[in-house]
Each structure stands twice: as structure tokens, then as C-alpha cells.
Amino acid sequence: MSRRKTERLLSLVVCLLSARRYLTAAQIREAVPGYPDSFDAFKRMFERDKDELRELGIPLETGVNAGSDEEPGYRISRQAYELPDIRLEPDEAAVLGLAARVWRRAELAGAAEGALLKLRAAGIEAEDVSQPGIEPRLQTGEAAFGPLWEAVRDRRPVTFGYLAPGRSTQQQRQLEPWGVVNRRGRWYVVGRDRDRQAQRVFRLSRMAGEVRFTGPAGTVSVPPGTDVRAAVRDWDGEGPPPRTCRLRIRSGAGYGLRRHAVSVKPDVQAGWDMVEVNYSDTGWWSEHLASFGADVIVEEPVDLREAVIGRLKGVLA
């Protein structure tokens, strides 16, 4: 069944590609083997075939031949069908091969393979041999990536359940998505939140349940000049200006803090060092310092010292 279908679709493509004029459905039925005898059954099968070709990105055109009064017909314009000429130098082909591996087993892996196949068919030898041992990877573990990429690509609004940080219940959000961004290994979607009527950023890993489309393709418009990367960067925040804290760190401990230290001096008390480090967010920094337990004592500032003590008391609460 599947073999016959492949043969029929192949003949159909070749027929329409070589046609110099629009062919009516009846002419196509004459030319392409494999369609059923009944005209109604043919029409149904032909409709499905057209859809499948369009899904593959084959530009099937409809039109009427000049000076004819026939019903509208079909053809595939070679110009619209063909990949334009592309030639790559060996170093360019090598980075292309590397790029195709980036998505391996992630969401767009199949698309990357398909693209490489077409480029090879255009005569490009995209083999990655230049950089042994280098394995770049993009991962799309979040289930929401697929539908959100489709929504961005096709400009469709979506809705999804979202568990915002610090909240214990999820909310349903309505979004006109503008772009998806990976920042430091996490995927985000940027767009216009329909309820809040403002730009919002959502982290894909906090989405719960299915992402559903709420409108047809082409109904989302991205405001001109939108920079989706900048939107996520701003949202993620660089934080307030840095402050300096003074810590006493046990000798031989606290490598993670010493690495970023402004200064390290032996403390008056033997077995300890006095270390100065810059930080910006008191909340996050106090959590980080608490994780060093008895190896780190915060001297200054007082608010940081109190925050660390509060954290540690929380462990015992």
C-alpha cells in the first residue's frame, strides 16, 4: 500500500514539475498511474495527495492557462521548487556538518537531517572531519518546545498552564508568542500575554500539561524591532550593583568562594583566612554562603550575616 502510494506521489511530482502549463485534475488522472477508476475516489485521493505534497513544502500552484477556458489546473513551478545554487568551501561544509549534529536527538534533529540531505543532493560534501572530538549539543528536554516552536513559526497564539516561581498553584496563561530563546541551557518563550496585555517571558520547564493553539496561523504579529534575546536577558536580570562582603573561611576550605575573591589574607585567628568577595543579590548569596556550613563565617555586612543565620536556623525549624 505504502509502496504504491510512494510510486504515485513520485509520478505526480515528476508530472507536475515537467508540465509547462497547468494540468487539470482530469489530465493528471490520465497521465499519472495508480489512481482509482472511479472519478469520485480519484478526487478524494488526489486531494489527500495534494495536501501531503504541500506538507513536504512542495510548492503546488493552482491556476488557469492563458487564453483557455478550462477549469483551474495544477503545476509545480521549477523556480519555486528548486533549491537555489549553493556552493560551500571545504571549511564551510565542515561547520555545516557540525551544525547538523547540534540537534542530535533533540526536537529539530529530523529537520536538521532533512536539510543536510538536500544540501548533499545539491552537491555539498558536508562531512565533519575537521574537528575531531568536538561535540556541540542543544537539548530540548522540555515537552513544550515542539508546540511552542510551531506556534512561533506559524504565528499562532497559545495557552498553557504555568507554575510561576514562588507560587503553589498553576495558572492558565494566554500568549502571543514572539520567539523562543535558550539562555544558559534553559528554554524560554517571549511574547505578549493577552490577559496582562504586556510582554512576558515564561520558562518552558515550568509549563504544566499541554500547550494548545488558540488561533489560526498568521494571527500573531511580532512588533517590529523586537529582540527576543534581549527580552529574556532583561527578564533574567543582571541584578542590582555589586557589594563586597567580608568572610572568614577555614583554611583549605571554600574553594568555590576563593576563586572569585577580591582579596585573601590570613586571619588573626590561626586556621582561618579573611576573604573579600563581591556579590549582588543578598538572597541568593546568603543561600550560597549557608551551603558552606561551618567552614564560612560572614563578618560583614550585617544584613547578609543575618540572612545566613536565618537560613541555617531554617534548617533546624
Binding site: 513520485l10 513544502g57 533549491l83 561547520v95 551544525a99 540531505l117 543532493a121 551551603s291 567552614d295
Partner: protein, 354 residues
Amino acid sequence: MTADQADATARRGRGRPPGSGRQTGTARAQAGQAATDRPTATDRLQRLLALVPYVVSRNVVGMAETAAAFGITERELVDDLNMLWCVELRSPDPYCPIDLSYEGGEIMVSEAEAMDRPLRLGVDEACALLVALRMLAELPSIGNGSALSRTIAKLEAAAGSAASPSAQVAVQVDHVTGQSVAVQVADALSRGRRVHIAYYVPGRDEATERDVDPMRLLLVERSSYLEGWCRRANAVRVFRLDRILSIQVLDVAAEVPAEAEQVDVDGGLFRPSPQDVRVVLELAATGRWVADYYPCELVEQLADGRTRITLRTPDTQWVRRLALRLGEDGKVISPPDLAAQICDDATAALANYA
């Protein structure tokens, strides 16, 4: 040949099929694996449409090479070539638009009207490659910025309008950490040299020194890794680049033992093993990030809005540090001796402030 093909050949009225039909040993050997995931009719159509231009652009090309490029067996390739050769249009006059031969292990297409160029790139295809290329362009260790920007420009031109949605997918690699180390690792890999590293282990808050024979540089968006044969552990180890405190490329050839096995990057770098300790934590809403951040075996939503997670780890030292960090935001429930140890850690730390 199957009866179908024999019939089609006869209809064409040609005396001889395009190939001898002889199967090579390799083709037979591979045929067994071929049927495992059957492509759909449209998958196969895409392949057939690419096959003709693939051969045309190379004039003559070997069967084995072609099968490898398309990820199919030679037997499947023969079937594809036969299907192409058998295409026949019946009207206005019957004719066969594709003529090809594959005798002597080499394929030649002598006639392929209208099919000698591949189909344009689709949006997904163009975007997958462009997003990946732009990500690579951000990684200094790839070291081929000029080739990357030329390739991006050529691909954008060839893809035309299919390239535009790619501007709406961006990958921002962490620039701050690990990139200069990555450049050195790439250098050691390309010259086959051993490296000496000082490595910080945050779970234990300690720095260690070791010699490593690099196997691969794994550039993952979040953080990148050096995979290599560790001369200290005498085993394959994976090191996060942003935790490599210093690195020296040694004037010694790297010697990776034959038994060294690569880590399956795509299956997840860190996979729990059955010998690991099972740790259960209960997280308040403010501590829920832990569930996002660490690979959990189980995530359960509790009735009171808290989240219970279960994870497996070979080493619980980092869990103790995590628990101190979490404070009231998350508690270790099990194992009980770990929970007790954490209380002791907090008590000792608080004693410093007494």
C-alpha cells in the same frame, strides 16, 4: 526483482533492467537491520527526490557511498533506483522521464528532466541549521568564526524566506565561564596532547589536580564538559569546564586506552545507577527550583502545595550542602541518617555565630 518491478520493466519495453540486480555481501548483511523503522510514503518520497540530484551533481557516484549518505542499505538503494527508473507518465504520450544505471557499483543518471535539483529547504530545516550555526558562532573553541559567518550567509541566501523565522529562536551560550578553557581543550584535542587540570568539586568544596587525556569536548548550552581518560582515577571522567580552575596543555601525547568508552551524551550525562542512595526531599514553593535543576526520579505535587522529589545519587555530600542552602525552603525526609547529619551541620555552623 519483485514481480512488480519485472512488470514495470516489461511495460517500459526496455530489454534490460538498470542494474544487474546482484547483491553485494554488505548489502545482504545490512538488509536485516533495514526494516526496523519503516519510513512513511512521504519520508521515502523525500529521499527519492533528493537521490536524483545527489547523483546528478556528482556525475557518477558509488553505491556504497550513496547508501551511506542517505543512511540506507545498498539493497534499499537498489529498490529506490528501480522505483525512480520505473516512473512512467501515460499522457499525452507514454514516456519514462528518468533514465539511470547502476552497474558495476556506480550510479549514473542520464536523464532526469525537471528533477535534477533538490527541493528548497523547509522552514524547520533552514531554522534547525541556522540556529545551530549561530550557536556555534558564539563558541570561541569552535575556532572557525569566518567559515561560520560565510556558511550562515550562504545558507540564508539559499533558504530565502524559509530562513526568517530562525531569527525568533536564539541560543545564548554562557560566555562568562569556561570559554578560555574550552579553547585550550580544543587545542589539546587537535594536537593529541595530555592536559593537567586543577578541578573544583563543589559538592565536596575541594580542588584536585590531575592529568587527563582528552577524548571529547562536549559543548552543551548550559555548560560544557571535557571528557577524557583521567590518569588519577584510571577511568573515563567528565569535567565541567567552568570548574576547571586552571589548565595546562602538556608536551606529552595523550594516550586514551582502548577500553575507554565514551559517555552517551544524548542519553543525559549523569544517569543514576541502582547502587545510588535514594534521597527524598520536600520542597516549599520557594524551593521548587530544585525540581527544575536536578534530574529527579519522581516529582509529586503534595496537597498542601509543596513538592516531593526523589533523586538518586552516588554521593550525598552535595545534598547536605543543598539542604543548608535551602533552609526552610526544602527538607530532606529520607534517608533519616542524612537528615540527622544535616541538622548537625546547621548546628555546627550556627555555633560560629554564637
